[in-house]
Amino acid sequence: MTAMASASPRSVSVAVENPGLAAQVSASERKHLIKMLALLAPSVIFTALFFVLPLALFMFRSVDNPEIQTYLPRTAEVMQSWSGQGEPDEAAFAAIAADLNAIRGQPSLGLIGRRLNYALPGARGLLTKTARRLPIAEGASAKDALIAIDKQWADPALWGVLHQQSGRLTDFYLLTALDLHKSPEGELRRVAPEQRIFIDLYGRTLSVSLTVTALCLLIGFPVAAVMARAGKRAASWMLMLVLVPFWTSLLVRSTAWVILLQNEGLVNKALMALGIISSPLPLVFNRAGVIIAMVHVLLPYAILPIYSVMKGVSGNHLRAAASLGASPLRVFRTVYLPLTLPGVAAGGTLVFVLSVGFYVTPALVGGPGDQMIGYFIAYFTNSAVNWGLASALGAFLLIVVAAIYLALGKLVGFNRLRVR
């Protein structure tokens, strides 16, 4: 940009001499631009179709709420105009009776039942039971008839849920993912203590990820430093050893850790044979196992960016610092560390972002209390088929990672986060 700006005064004077020149230049630049865009097009189209679009659709699922409007259209309409306070009038009862009657015996009944069950446990049974006894007699009061089928129809909590969830969009999943719910009066409340799992989950995910990141950096930094200063042959050997873990699948390695770390495993046997411990250490199906296995898997991601930055640090900078009177510790603190910081930041970010999303390793090596957010996203996607909640958890994960990246960018400078 600067070059263009500084060139413009000259081009003005040229344009006076040769009015066709500016047009020629812009024509040739346009050609160049089109060529560049054509080269970028495949990757842009691919990314848009298979990454950005699915991501946006899945994110949208965290607020998407089509079920009630689709399967209970009359009820949704009445609920939208109702205040949500106390007990609704006859029209509401008539609407839901008509809606349920319309989908009686169809799969839709199951779907809407599951959807309402998220917000109100037991709702599914109520709908099935009610639908079986429909339709109500001609001319009778829908309200009396429904309450006669099940007393729960008189419960304001049920109608509160129907009212809150009748919109096209919902904040239900996002709130649930934060251990919050809305009271029938529309107030935000924390869910009952025994149901609060997600805040703990974020905390656990972050603390495991931070621990793994810190360990990877602490172990990786010296390795990278030695590699960067080693001779060509030694460095390429070390690089190969660092990369060896990439040759094996994550699943195999995680399973191998179970075998290595179990009570009768190699690690415990060896430690006992050496007389360091007398009884096996609990190393697997707990937090320690998760961290050991994750550090092992992620270490190369820390070493490689640090190594690549360290390679670029000239030995002369370190020698210069020493010749100027700085002790080795001072050289490290004031010259080596600042110059390698971009690599540390890049490696740390990479390890952190990867470990926040880890799923397979904690699932195999961890205990029930060590599962991270990835496990729950998978659970809600595959087993519970609550895609809204899975999406909400994913959205918060994305937000946390983005926030950390931004904070780090502010701290270290974005241009230094690149892997050079």
Binding site: R319, A320, S323, L324, L339
Partner: protein, 370 residues
């Protein structure tokens, strides 16, 4: 301990500032990069270590700075042995090839670095850094980052940084190698001025013989791990101690032949069956020895009537150099180059012309062929 503190109990005058005694260096345990180096560096002198790459000059400098440990031998600084002293305790200023400025610090912080390492008070640091930057004419550049400076400016910052803590000894490792010719010449001049003004001792490594000749008090010519000759520039140029020095410093004709007659200081060397020249013997040479003759092109007279060693030769080529014209002959199958002022080269000299050339026996030096 700082240099200043050491200067208080300085050795008596006449004692060299630096002394290498029998220093050897080998990296692989087989070949020696530096062989039996004995070198005294006097206080205040500008000494250049000159030689082709791999000659051991940079290794010698690195041993003095403390970045390489000698395999054997001793190095003393102001009478104190520093052979095993780590570099940061030596108090020697150093300017590196490509400057080695810290890219993450401003110019000011770069120059302040050695002072902060010495835990000096900030007000004094500011004062000293300002003075050092003024000295290298970079007063207003303190807030810039090194990357925002030109090569010459970076070079000056590196110099200011090496000088700011007032070391008595400054080492410069090909500091001007990355600059273009014009800038290099200006920096040579500035460096020399600073040397004279401050009276610091400078040890300068270069492979550029012109740079060495213009700047140095003494030059140590290195080749194959040894100092081939240690002498002031004039002496090095006028009386090279061996064929390597003669060839490395300045332009030189190298003629090879067999000694056919030997007097105490002069020898007659036969270059071809019918061509014999007389030369000053530097090495002792006996009849039958193989000799190398060294003769500066500008010492060959192109004017007719030359006294000694006169030959009539055919001009093979003329090379116009601007300040001089090079005339290339063949003498007994060996190339002989003469160099003359273009204004004074006779117009009769043209390609194919016959010219009588000659030189004084004193200007032609004979060495034993290695």
């Amino acid at each position: 301990m700082s240099i200043q503190a050491m200067a208080a109990d300085a050795a008596p005058a006449g004692e060299p500032l630096v002394r290498f005694s029998r220093v050897q260096k080998s990296y692989d345990g087989q070949s020696l990069v530096v062989k039996d180096l004995n070198l005294d560096i006097a206080r205040g002198e500008f000494l250049t270590l000159l030689g082709p790459s791999g000659s051991g000059k940079t290794t010698s400098l690195m041993m003095l700075a403390g970045f390489e440990a000698p395999t054997s031998g001793r190095i003393t600084l102001q009478g104190r042995e520093i052979t095993a002293l780590p570099p940061y305790k030596r108090g020697i200023g150093m300017v590196f090839q490509n400057y080695a400025l810290f890219p993450h610090m401003t110019v000011f912080d770069n120059v302040a670095y050695p002072l902060r390492a010495r835990k000096m008070a900030e007000p004094e640091i500011a004062q000293r850094v300002t003075a050092a930057l003024d000295m290298v004419k970079l007063g207003p550049f303190g807030a810039r980052m090194p990357a925002q400076l030109s090569g010459g400016q970076q070079q000056r910052v590196a110099l200011a940084r090496a000088l700011v803590f007032e070391p008595e000894l400054i080492l410069l490792d090909e500091p001007l190698g990355a600059l273009d010719k014009q800038l290099r010449e200006r920096m040579q001049y500035e460096l020399k001025q600073i040397h004279e003004r401050l009276g610091v001792t400078m040890v300068y490594v270069t492979h550029d013989q012109e740079e060495a000749l213009t700047m140095s008090d003494r030059i140590a010519v290195f080749d194959q791990g040894r100092i081939q000759q240690l002498a002031p520039p004039e002496e090095l140029y006028e009386s090279p101690a061996n064929a390597f020095v003669a060839g490395f410093i300045g332009e030189n004709n190298t003629l090879e032949g067999e000694v056919v007659a030997s007097a105490p200081h002069a020898v007659t060397v036969r270059l071809a069956p019918d061509i014999a020249v007389t030369a000053t013997a530097i090495d002792p040479l006996a009849v039958g020895d193989q000799a190398v003759l060294c003769l500066r092109p500008e010492r060959i007279s192109l004017a007719p009537g030359a006294a000694e060693n006169a030959f009539t030769l055919e001009v093979e080529r003329l090379v116009y150099l601007g300040e001089a014209t090079r005339v290339v002959f063949s003498l007994g199958g060996q190339e002989l180059i003469a160099k003359g002022d273009p204004m004074k080269v006779p117009v009769s000299i043209a390609r194919g012309a016959s010219v009588t050339v000659g030189w004084r026996t004193a200007d032609c030096r004979a060495f034993r062929k290695e």
